[in-house]
Amino acid sequence: MSTDAGAAAGGDGGRARALPVAAAHGVTKRFGVTVALDDVSLAVRPGEIHALVGRNGAGKSTLVSLLTGLLAPDDGEVTFGDDPAPPISDREAWRRRVACVYQKSTVIPSLSVAENVFLNRQDSRRGLIAWTSVRRRARELLQGWDVDVDVEQPAEKLTVEQRQLVEIARALSHGSRFIILDEPTAQLDGQAIERLFERMRVLRDQGVTFLFISHHLEEVYEVCDTVTVLRDARHVVTAPVTELSETDLVAAMTGEATGLITASSDRTAPQDTAVPALQVSELGLPGLYHDVSFEVRRGEIVGLAGAGGSGKMAVAESVVGLRRPITGTVEIAGNRPRPGSVPAALAAGVGFVPQDRHRQGLVPALSIAENVTMTIPDRLGRYGFIGPRRRAAVGAQAIDDLTIKASGPEQPVSALSGGNQQKVVMARALAGEPTALVLLQPTAGVDVKAKETLLAAAEDAARRGAGVLIVSDDLDDLRQCDRVVVMFKGSVAEERPSGWRDHDLIAAMEGISE
């Protein structure tokens, strides 16, 4: 397999620079009435690291699906070198040309690393799999690419970083020298990201080509050679990263929406009451975070930032009762709800938007009104009965307040778009008129307009006297915060008042102190 690598690298180097490893020529893809990609062209040159950026819904993942043969374009075509793309059904041919490491794991957790690497192409002798040889080849392959893992352990034991490396090595062993990395850094901490980048550079020098998808622009500047920007299903620009300034790149991504979300000034200063809305004192959960203390006053919006693995999500989940901290206390307006209990937290005045709306936020088959009022049955009627009329009224109110696009409060949530679903989750968080509003990735996967509405709703809650805690990876979510608490490796690293610069905040999140 390593001789393959040499041959492919030599071949690519010798060929004309002009011929792209992979290209999309004017591809269009529609899903029903939605146009996911509109006449998009992309050419990835051999031996480059090509960034693909764009906001949520810009069409990145659809383009990746076309390039990996999971979907066929409605119009236009995909080519690899001189050849047209193989038929969709010929998975083997696609695998030899392109490999994708998705955010979602594509390993089989219960099987060993060795077996995952050679799945469905195990060495066999007289029809029986020769395990010794499979393990030996997997070990050789991984060592050949300097991936240091025990091939006999089940794949579920791998860390995210190790899993990505195994998936990259597996892709290379198929003979593919073009690898798509779909937000590979999203779940990695700063040091693991550095190691990944270093490895990407080394592989690039050996003739491997990457298409790199990321939300973090500083990563694009750090590791990529060329960048392509998609916006609203269209191709906006492709340029060498050295020729595109960060401002231009942001402008290309956001279009006219630049500066849409800014720190607003019409909110009065937080009330300085004796008892804060939320007080977190010396909170600790071994392995995730330790000694975390901060407070959110009434009417204040506080951001909680940090890289993946910084523990910020775990802290927020502990505040709302999804996790149970081992040490320290959480006080909501002076009360201490029982740790690790969501009902207790809700009763104490917490309202929250969970991180994963599909898993924890919504019951898709139920109506908007039922979802919105799920946390406040007591307000709808007495003795455990629920008044349908009052429930519908609360639902209609939510539709109005958050401009949810729906036919009415009785429409099932599953029929709504992602942004509107997230508004329902927000409405549910607000339904109990919370003292402390905790928002976990409140704008993940929603468009700019919905994002604006959601953040405005948070601000409105603050204006009415709630303490708001926003936990997010998206810097836009944090702009309206009065303060941003930055976590690094499980503890509070620093705190920044509003008016911070992106660069400084990211540096703090990555643990680079100045």
């Binding site: 083997e92 799945l119 469905n120 799999i129 006999e152 352990q153 040091q191």
Partner: protein, 355 residues
């Protein structure tokens, strides 16, 4: 040999104060050949201590327990249902369920008996000669497997409900063709496998052991077998690795039908009859044995050998209870309790959460 040497000579980034990360991994992977293998095997053998413990208890309860005749009895009694466990384990490994197996277990020999028995004494049609009985039994199992496969794989219906429906339909068919009575006076070909003795051991024990041995090899050492685990573990990843998921699922359901029919044939042979209720209720024991043996209900986890130890343990416990003189009226309640206790034992010995 092309080796990548990662070095920490990264080009200066946009900000000067980057952390200087030493990228090179530490020592190369320690070659551990036997380690992982041994652990995997140990998990396989999780129930063996429980079985040995049960043997000691049995020996204390009654010295007759450890006699060769008694152990042979236990093995023979569990051989028929153990084929159902084997079938269910295969289906469970690829993340599906087949509830209809227990009805196939009764219907397959029932249909064969119905077609070959002369009208008169029992409900029979007498259309075919006795020599057809065994092929007919297996053919019925195969057809049921194909129907399950079509409904679940081709029409993408929910497997649990499909096989629940099949369970009821097939049981009803057997009751219908038999008039709710028992088929007896069966042709000798149907009796043979359940009664014969090969090399000093009942043929059904041989068949059970051989099929388990074959299944262990297939599941552990063939692409087909490994694809069961892959599909049960992560069907999308399996598809991405080029495994023909639908074909494997279909084949597995057909094989399961065949195994259930064969199991039914063995029991028919031993009892020399087919009761309208043959196999009724057995599916609960089958599921329990598979789970006790470490096969996950959510797919992708467990071994065939584990499933075998599961059913063996259940039958050993029952045998010990019988020897201890527990009244027959209490066996039902005890059977349920045994399943729960066995689940707890296997949870303790394997240390894995069951789901």
């Amino acid at each position: 040999m092309l080796r990548i040497r990662s070095r920490a000579d990264e080009p200066p980034g946009e900000e000067g104060a980057r952390v200087n990360t030493e990228v090179r991994p530490t020592a190369p992977a320690v070659v551990r050949r036997a380690g992982g293998l041994r652990i995997a095997r140990l998990r396989d053998l999780a129930l063996v201590p429980a079985i040995l413990g049960m043997m000691v208890v049995g020996w204390i309860v009654s010295p007759a327990f450890l006699s060769w005749t008694n152990l042979q009895n236990v093995l023979q009694q569990q051989s028929e249902i153990s084929l159902l466990v084997l079938a269910e384990a295969l289906v469970l490994l690829c993340g599906r369920m087949d509830l209809s197996l227990e009805s196939t277990f009764g219907l397959a020999p029932g249909v064969a008996a119905w077609l070959v028995l002369a009208p008169g004494v029992a409900h029979g049609l007498g259309w075919l000669s006795g020599g057809w009985a065994v092929p007919l039994t297996l053919a019925v199992g195969l057809v049921i497997g194909v129907v399950n496969g079509l409904l679940i794989v081709r029409f993408q219906l929910n497997g649990f409900i499909v096989t629940l429906g099949m369970l009821i339909v097939l049981r009803g068919l057997l009751t219908g063709i038999s008039g709710g009575k028992t088929f007896f006076n069966l042709p000798s070909s149907m009796i043979y496998l359940g009664n014969a003795v090969w090399l000093g051991l009942p043929a059904s024990i041989w068949i059970c052991l051989i099929l388990y041995a074959v299944a262990i090899v297939v599941a552990g050492y063939t692409k087909f077998g490994r694809s069961l685990y892959a599909i049960g573990g992560n069907a999308d990843a399996a598809r991405a690795a080029g495994i023909r998921v639908n074909r494997v699922l279909f084949t597995t359901l057909v094989v399961a039908g065949l195994l259930a029919a064969l199991g039914g044939l063995l029991l028919t042979g031993r009892l020399a009859s087919v009761a309208a209720s043959q196999g009724s209720g057995a599916i609960f024991t089958v599921f329990a044995a598979a789970v006790i043996g470490g096969v996950s209900l959510s797919g992708g986890r467990g071994t065939i050998f584990g499933a075998f130890t599961g059913i063996l343990l259940l039958y050993l416990i029952q045998n010990v209870l019988t020897l201890a003189g527990v009244p027959a009226q209490w066996i039902g309640a005890l059977n349920g309790a045994i399943i729960l206790v066995a689940l707890i034992i296997s949870r303790i010995t394997s240390g894995q959460a069951q789901n």
